[in-house]
Structure formats: structure tokens, C-alpha cells
């Protein structure tokens, strides 16, 4: 149902069936490191390029979330996905593996909230029953596309942010999850994981045994021609799946949610451009968009900031967070400890990322790993997530364009399971 100028309120509850995250090694050492489902040991993940690795992360995040929801791909009606690469190649290529209708979305780093809003609206309107919302970003692929080659010895400015290597997926459904269903799907999931790990372990063991017999036979060559090139390739592929590449999934069978999160509405954002032209200062460029959407949300819904237990902006960074508070203060709205920024909080100070994390995977992985779990534990009752995006490409700053920002907000509330 349309509410006010830019917002909508769901007529029926849209439940978060499950969520799943995969992040890179640096993110695993960050502040939310303990909460991610899978932390990769190597951000190439056995692939030949970082773009392929990002696509694989995206794919596996969707697979993990669907499996955790106790569903098969047959049960998913629609996949909403997006990323930062040209022509959405990470999501599009990931979708080759699923025989499910796919809608590609792009709103830079705010793509995740765009996907969640659209998914909720589609389910609310009855166009779909189950929707996956996923986004991904990868430091190395983003760096090449938006900035410089990885090996270039330039200095990052203190206003710069670090693109998060991460993919996450939320499964939204009209059907209410049940405690038994949850338990079952978690068990099935961890069995699947265990089976996969055992498979990997066995493959690794076989490889080690082969190496041993070869060494005993006096053959010290690293690459034996015995098995042929194909076997060598297969071994390489298996090595990518070896357990040391995958961390233990945190969402074990023991995890039980007391509450279930539901999307109750949100606000679609307008493109806002305050004339910031420094492409290394995204926080400053996006803060006006976040403030604009936030104010519109409060006006449309008639709520006050106090009605929320927590308010998260996407990836404004440390300075952007200040600028956001500054803009709101001008409008007479006070921000307090309940407000935080996912990007600014993402990394620890000693990880030297200057402003913190950014990218389509930033707000996504924080929401799916951290915020949703706090809601499911019952710590937060009503949360507003304002993902923010800067709508520029590599050429527009060279054409002396300023940086437009956009921000979409969605509300998550909880319900006892």
C-alpha cells in the first residue's frame, strides 16, 4: 500500500526466511568476522580471475540461503540480484546455474535495499511467493573497474573507503517459517556441508597419499605427468574446495531463532546531488541522499527516530556518518547511539581502511550476518536500514560531472516464532 509520497507499507507480512553470507579474508578479520557464515581464506577462491570469484561467491550465497530456508530452487519464484561490475556480470553469470527467473538490479551500493524493497512489494502484491535478494562486491574487481590496477603504487586518500569482498543473500517469503521447519532445514544444511567437507577431505587425503607414494617411489617432481593434464586440473579444482579454503559454517544446527524478521515497508529514494565532485569522497556525496530518504521516510510514515531500536546507513563511512548527522541536525533531527553506519563499523581500526567498508556487499553482509541475527535474538524490535549508493562510473568524473547519490530504506520488524 502506498504511504505518503515515496513510501509503501506491506499489507501482509513478508518474512525473512533465511540469510547467508560469504566474505573474503580481510572481512573475516573485521568487526563482524565471527558472524559471517563463510569466511574465505583466499579471495580468488580457486578461480582464475577476481570477477569469476565474485560470481562464484554470489552463486554460493544464493545456494546457501535457499538451502537454509529449507527450500529447493524449484520453490523460488524470482531472483533479484545486482552487483557493481559492468552489465551486472557477477550476478548474471551466477544465474546461469539456476533455472529461476532473474531480474538484474543496479543502484550501486544501495542495490541490496532496492532488491529487498522490490521483493517485499512483489510478494505483498502477490506476484511472487518466494524471492531471493542478493548482491555482491569484490575489492579486487571493483578496484580494477573504478580505480587503478592492484599493483599500482599510489596512495589511497584518507577519504577513501575499502570495497567489501562479500556476497549475501536474503530469502523473502510470504509463508511464515516454523521452528520445526527451521530445525529441519538447518540439520539438512549442516549435513550437506559436512558431506561436502568430507568429500573435500577425502580428495585431499587421496592427493596426499598419491604424493606420498610418488615420493617413496623416488619421484620428486611437483607435477606428475602420470595423471595427465586433466587430472591435474581436477586436483586444482578440488584444492579450491579443500576445507582450509572454507571456514566452518557458523549457522550450525544448534542455532535457533526466537523471533522471525519481517519486512514491513520502506521508502524509495530520490537521486540527490549536492555537487560533491571528489570521487574518493563517496561518504560526503551520499550523505545528502541518505538524509533525504530518512526525512521522507519519517514524513511519510509519521514516525519519529525514537520509534526505531536501531538505524543503519549503508556505507557512508566515518566522515559520511558525521555529514549525515550534520545534515539531520540542520533539520532538527538528533541522531544518537542507536544510529550506526555499516561501512564505518565494518573493519577494525588497525585494518587501515580509512573510512571503512563500501560496496554492494557491505550493507548486505552486515544485514544478513549481524542485524538479522540481533533481530532474531530479540535484541532489536524495529530497524531501519538505509543503504546508500553513489551513481557514478569511471568516466563521469573525467567529464567533470558531480556525484549523484541515492538511498533506499526498508523497515524490518520482528515477530515471535
Amino acid at each position: 500500500m502506498k504511504t505518503g509520497r515515496q513510501s509503501f507499507t506491506a499489507n501482509r507480512p513478508v518474512y525473512v526466511r533465511s540469510s547467508y553470507t560469504i566474505v573474503g579474508p580481510k572481512e573475516g578479520e573485521g568487526r563482524f568476522g565471527e558472524e559471517f557464515d563463510t569466511v574465505l581464506k583466499d579471495d580468488l577462491w580457486g578461480e582464475k580471475s577476481y570477477e569469476k570469484a565474485e560470481s562464484k561467491m554470489h552463486r554460493e550465497a544464493i545456494r546457501g540461503a535457499v538451502c537454509l530456508a529449507g527450500m529447493t530452487l524449484e520453490d523460488v519464484d524470482l531472483m533479484l540480484a545486482g552487483d557493481l561490475l559492468n552489465e551486472l556480470s557477477a550476478s548474471g553469470f551466477a544465474m546461469r546455474y539456476f533455472k529461476v527467473p532473474f531480474l538484474g538490479l543496479y543502484n550501486a551500493c544501495s542495490t541490496f535495499s532496492e532488491a529487498v524493497l522490490l521483493g517485499a512489494a512483489l510478494i505483498d502484491g502477490g506476484a511472487a511467493k518466494t524471492v531471493t535478494c542478493s548482491t555482491s562486491s569484490h575489492f579486487a574487481s571493483a578496484e580494477r573497474q573504478y580505480r587503478y590496477p592492484l599493483e599500482l603504487g599510489n596512495q589511497r586518500t584518507p577519504t577513501s573507503q575499502w570495497t567489501v569482498t562479500g556476497a549475501g543473500c536474503t530469502v523473502l517469503g510470504a509463508e511464515r517459517p516454523t521452528a520445526e521447519g527451521d530445525r529441519e532445514s538447518r540439520e539438512r544444511f549442516s549435513e550437506k556441508m559436512k558431506a561436502m567437507r568430507e568429500e573435500c577431505l577425502e580428495a585431499a587425503k587421496a592427493e596426499d597419499a598419491e604424493k606420498k607414494t610418488r615420493t617413496e617411489a623416488g619421484d620428486n617432481t611437483l607435477f606428475s605427468v602420470k595423471g595427465g593434464a586433466f587430472d591435474a586440473l581436477k586436483r586444482r579444482f578440488i584444492r579450491a574446495w579443500r576445507p582450509e579454503c572454507l571456514a566452518d559454517p557458523v549457522c550450525d544446527a544448534a542455532y535457533e531463532r526466537k523471533f522471525v524478521a519481517k519486512i514491513t515497508g520502506g521508502t524509495f529514494g530520490k537521486v540527490t546531488d549536492f555537487g560533491i565532485d571528489d570521487e574518493s569522497n563517496m561518504g560526503g556525496a551520499m550523505a545528502p541522499a541518505a538524509a533525504d530518504t530518512f526525512i521522507a521516510h519519517l514524513m511519510d510514515t509519521g514516525r519519529a527516530p525514537e520509534d526505531y531500536d536501531a538505524i543503519f546507513t549503508g556505507d557512508l563511512g566515518r566522515f559520511g556518518k558525521e555529514a549525515f548527522a550534520h545534515l539531520l541536525a540542520k533539520e532538527g533531527i538528533k541522531t544518537d547511539a542507536r544510529y550506526d553506519d555499516c561501512g564505518a563499523a565494518y573493519y577494525k581500526a588497525e585494518q587501515e581502511t580509512f573510512q571503512g567498508g563500501s560496496g554492494a556487499g557491505c550493507v548486505n553482509t552486515v544485514f544478513n550476518a549481524h542485524i538479522i541475527k540481533r533481530i532474531e535474538r530479540g535484541e532489536l524490535r524495529r530497524v531501519l536500514v538505509l543503504a546508500t549508493g553513489a551513481l557514478l562510473n569511471k568516466d563521469t568524473p573525467l567529464q567533470k560531472e558531480t556525484i549523484p547519490g541515492v538511498s533506499h530504506a526498508f523497515t524490518v520488524e520482528c515477530e515471535e516464532l
Binding site: 580471475s49 587503478y148 590496477p149 592492484l150 577519504t159 571528489d278 566522515f319
Partner: protein, 145 residues
């Protein structure tokens, strides 16, 4: 909503800045050391090949420095040095080598032809173009004078 011009001023004033003293010091020390390495190579070459003219020694020194810059870029060390030193590792000729080799490495996944060869000068292209054009201008002026 807030006045846009006022917000721009706020951003300009309050954005974090590079630590001036520390970054200048790092650039000075690293840049100076790279130049000293170059001087050492120059001395070494002129001691080994006494028959070389000064120009030849200079050219060989450049080639060796470019080799070092390329090598440390390829093994993934130069970008870390650059993160620390900034201008200290950009301004020397090794920084020029870095700006050619780093895109070549980055785009080798697109193949030799359209990756390495086509993208090699995406960063260093202006240096070659400015060098050639200004060289021709200087030459023509020298011809006329």
C-alpha cells in the same frame, strides 16, 4: 533541505586530510634511497665498463632501474612501498615502470593481445605522449633558432 553550497563548504572543511609531515617525510626518505640505489648502479656500471660514455652509463642505469621497478611490481611489493611512500616511489623512474607494468599484470587475464598489449599504457600513456610531443616541439624550436 540544507543549502547545497553550504554543504559543499562543510565537506571541504571537514573531510579528513593526509598527514602532511609524516607523508612528506616518508616520500623524502624513500625517494632519496631509490636515488641512492640508482647512483650505486651508475657507479657499478661505470666501474665494470670503463669504456662506456656518460650517456651510455646513464641509459644502462635507467634500464636497470626500470627492471627493478618492474620486478618489484610483478612480485607485489611495489604497491606496498607506494602505499607507504606515495610520491617517494612515484616520482623516480621506477614509478614510471610501475605505472606500465601494473596495468599489464592487471589485464593479463583478458589475454596477451587485448589484455597485456592493449592495456599496458592506460596509465603511463600520457607520459609517452607528452614526452614525444614536447620532444618534437623542442627539436623544431632548436632547428629554427
Amino acid at each position: 533541505m540544507t543549502d547545497k553550497a553550504e554543504y559543499r563548504l562543510y565537506v571541504k572543511k571537514n573531510s579528513p586530510r593526509s598527514p602532511m609531515v609524516r607523508s612528506l617525510f616518508a616520500a623524502f626518505v624513500v625517494g632519496g634511497l631509490i636515488c641512492c640505489v640508482g647512483e650505486g648502479i651508475r657507479d657499478g656500471i661505470s666501474a665494470l665498463f670503463p669504456s662506456f660514455s656518460e650517456e651510455e652509463v646513464g641509459a644502462w642505469t635507467t634500464v636497470v632501474m626500470i627492471f627493478l621497478g618492474s620486478f618489484f611490481t610483478a612480485i607485489g611489493v611495489y604497491d606496498r612501498l607506494g602505499r607507504f611512500a606515495g610520491g617517494g616511489s612515484i616520482v623516480p623512474i621506477t614509478g614510471f615502470a610501475n605505472s606500465v607494468v601494473s596495468p599489464a599484470l592487471e589485464y593479463n587475464r583478458e589475454g596477451v593481445f587485448f589484455g597485456i598489449c592493449a592495456k599496458m599504457f592506460v596509465i603511463a600513456g600520457p607520459i609517452i605522449v607528452f614526452g614525444v610531443v614536447s620532444g618534437i616541439v623542442v627539436g623544431i624550436v632548436a632547428c629554427l633558432v
